[in-house]
């Protein structure tokens, strides 16, 4: 099954950028967790190294088989993932006000992360079969809507609004790429505009408050508003070249509770300044450009749309996470790809990159 010639087409550039971002991630994480001489903090660093190792292993596995088989397996993968996600609701571990985690032996998995891949694969399959130059009509858009809505509600009710929102954005990006019929697009936009005020009326007052806080963190100055304020101070105080590695004062005082996960970019911005931040931004841009280039080089619809889906996943997470840290976006749980601490998130991105490499390697092979 595995063709040795494939190695000749191996995408070393993509691997190089990925590993480079991982190294940046480890350097940052080391700084973020070395606040006190706390043993628990140090273990976070070593665990992340372990996640990277396991992530690479999963990635290698994901390009042994041709991605073209995924076209057939997509429904199975999708249904299996939904079952996994539903099981979180039944047996999930409750932590920090939501049920997102599934305990597997000593580890906990957050199935809402890898679910993104399953959604990308099933949508790539559907759009690849239905794509046409005039655009996809409303009738044909119903199935992908349902395919997205199921995981969306399962994740949103955990509740994990950040991941649920990303699912919508990924699905939306893929649909737009596959081209939606103009009339359908206009109608959809109109429906959304009409649906929002109706949906708003249905919400309970406390739910409204939560949405408003999400959009305007100033409404909750002691919670989200406080995080945004501290995060902006951390980013802004980095100036052009930063305070120096391990020298961040905002970081040192642990003003941000999530500085090794969702807010890790603030540590980079504070310690490496504008130069460091732009550099990381550029690395992500390069990663996304590589992904789109793979889509560009691919000769079949499924591979192309799959690559665009993975690129969309990386893009939205980078954009929302950084936007949140810079105070441009609402505070939602959203890890920075490959950099934020966390096994589930790291695995998901590695699987995605494995898929990209898979498409890239087989760009010259026929079915």
């Amino acid at each position: 099954m595995f063709d040795r010639r494939l190695i000749n087409y191996f995408d070393w550039g993509l691997l190089g950028i990925t590993l480079f971002i991982c190294v940046i991630g480890l350097v940052l994480l080391y700084s973020a967790v070395s606040v006190d001489e706390c043993p628990l903090q140090a273990s976070i660093f070593y665990k992340q190294v372990l996640w990277y190792g396991l992530g690479l292993a999963i990635m290698s596995f994901s390009f042994i088989f041709s991605y073209k088989h995924l076209d057939k397996w997509a429904p199975v993968i999708y249904i299996g993932s939904m079952a996994l996600l539903a099981s979180v609701h039944l047996f999930g571990k409750h932590a920090g006000g939501s049920t997102r985690w599934l305990a597997i032996g000593p580890f906990t998995l957050q199935p809402s992360e890898p679910i993104k891949i399953a959604v990308i694969i099933i949508l790539a399959r559907y759009f690849a079969h239905n794509v046409q130059k005039t655009g996809i009509t409303f009738r044909r858009l119903l199935i992908p809507m349902v395919l997205t809505a199921i995981p969306f509600f399962l994740v949103a009710t955990q509740p994990d609004l950040g991941t649920a929102g990303t699912l919508l954005l990924i699905a939306g990006s893929m649909a737009l790429f596959a081209k939606i019929d103009r009339r359908t697009l206009i109608c959809s936009v109109l429906i959304i505009i009409v649906a929002i005020p109706i949906g708003w009326k249905v919400l309970e007052p406390y739910q409204k408050e939560r949405v408003l806080t999400l959009l305007a963190p100033d409404r909750d100055p002691l919670g989200a508003g406080y995080h945004i304020r501290q995060s902006k101070i951390a980013v802004g105080s980095g100036l052009a070249f930063g305070k120096g590695y391990m020298q961040g004062t905002q970081k040192k005082l642990s003003f941000l509770p999530e500085q090794h996960t969702d807010f890790i970019f603030s540590v980079l911005a504070e310690e490496w300044g504008f130069a460091g931040s732009i550099f990381l931004l550029f690395m992500f841009l390069l990663l996304i450009a590589f992904a789109l280039n793979i889509a560009h080089g691919c000769r079949d619809s499924f591979g192309t749309i799959l690559s665009v889906g993975v690129a969309a996943m990386i893009f939205w997470q980078v954009f929302i996470n950084m936007g949140m840290v810079m105070g441009l976006m609402p505070v939602v749980g959203m890890p920075l790809p490959l950099i934020s601490y966390g096994g589930s998130s790291v695995f998901t991105i590695f699987i995605g990159i494995g898929l990209l490499m898979n498409v890239s390697m087989r760009r010259f092979t026929k079915q």
Partner: protein
Amino acid sequence: MTPSKNLHEFFYNVDNDWYKKRLFGIMIAIFVAFGILSARLFYLQIIQGDHYFKMSKNNCIRIQRVKPVRGLIFDRNGKLLVENRPSFDLSIIPCDAKPLKQTIDNLSVYVPEFADEIVEKITKNKIGYGYRPVVLKKDIGRDALAPISAHRFELPGIVIDTNARRNYIYDALSSHLIGYLGEINAGELKSGICKYKEGGDFIGRYGVEKAYDRYLSGIPGGRIVQVNANGQVVKVLDTVAPEPGHNITLTIDFNLQSLAEAQLQDKVGAVVAIDPSTGGILAMASSPTFNQNNFINGISSDQWHRLVSDPNRPMMNKAVQGVYPPASTYKIVTAIAALEEGLIDENTTYYCPGSYQYGNRVFGCWKKQGHGKVNVVEALAQSCDVFFYHVGKKLGVDRLAWYATNCGLGSKTGINLDRESGGLIPTAAWKKKRFGISWQGGENLSIAIGQGYNLVTPLQLAVLFGAVANGGTEFKPQIIRSIQTVEGRIVKIGNKEIIGRLPVSRDTLNLVRKGLREVVHGKHGTAHWYVYDKEIDISGKTGTAQVVSKKTEKDNQNKKNNVSYESHAWFVGYAPTENPEIVVSVMVEHGMHGSSAAGPIAKEMIVSYLRGMVGNSTVMAEK
């Protein structure tokens, strides 16, 4: 390939060029997005950079939680019973207290009385460099406050927080009903039952403070503040005001409550007074009692141990948690059952020679010389045991249990207080299940006079007698008259709630009421001597509950052993007999005789309440 298929391919099927065009569009969008992020970075780090750099250099933005004020508790006439007083808590912000050693030394000089405690706290907690304040000593008092405030510039990082501390204005008044507070523990925090609380906050642990904690607590607010290098607040950037807790008006009457407690002084027992027309608790006392103020700053383990190991159980609210044999007070249930079942009528008489032979066992009447020929009214008035032995034998356990259960006995009244006991009404099936032994005929006689397995709480009897008094309606006992916001808006009103109706006809009830009136008014009534009042028409029933069998009791008396084998004394009564306004249930543990030990307490309560010395005088005083 057919031409039509070619045509279709041309118009619909996508090819590589089509994808390339679309990918180009996506790439443009991504460039724009990254452009926005870069521009934002440029704005924050280059344009606004100096501003943020200054802010970060001073590490000056902090979040402070502002605790809400706990609601107040009033008696039914608006007399304040529980308030909050200011307490001064000494804390240290480790990262501001530099040099730490010198600061602590200075502190020890200014407040030598707490020096040891402070040093111990600091060494024990291994204070690091955090910016979170660590409490050194709570409630330091005004005397210690003055030197610290005066020298605060020599004490960087030392802060004094003024916190509200619960103050129970009248020591030990109604401590079982009102309850007390305790510091929230890790388990409670984790459980998330009180989402607004955090470590160091107080939570109701007992009584009303616990049952209505969510009304009393309020919602905390907070402040985002800018502090200077010494950790002192320079500027408040944002404030969210805390929402104060609601105030609670209880149904209890301060004067009646004080009287009940004074009456129980040096006794072990409980008193419950209820308004029979609503179920509102006018007074609820349990003796011995405890001082809630001792719990405020954390009770020492020694004090706590003494409270819980005391054989007289001061921590127990005997009015709702204590179960006792109802003794002769239960005869009204037996009388109701017998009359309703048609086993007797008002003219049925039995002859009481002072004892009753059942099989080879002799059941004595409390009056050894006997009551002679008595009917049901006389039997109640004189508490003739033999009359009820006859009746009990005919009724049998299960029929009697049905009536008792429908009179509200054997199950909780539903009062909103912790650990209420339901008591026990035995049935034949219950005994078989519990002990594996069948019900014995002789036991029918014992339970008919309220001995045997029967157990009731003083509160249950108060509710039952309240129903007899008001014509048959059992009201759920209420402790809350109303709950209001600080502004005075009513949040909740303690509406009366019917929990059952006595299974009696009007005629039966009138006979029972007549019997209860004769207990006090009749020349031979068991409570005539102790409870009768010339002006106020009181009805009631005495009860003397044997703790052990008569024989053992005598043995122990001979041995002059400790007191705890003596009988419990009951008196439950209401007044005025027509249109009653108050029901009082009195239980004195080991009080010997219901009439002499419990009767006078009930009389005192009823008389002073109805003479208006109680309720009205406070209203006048308040005005």
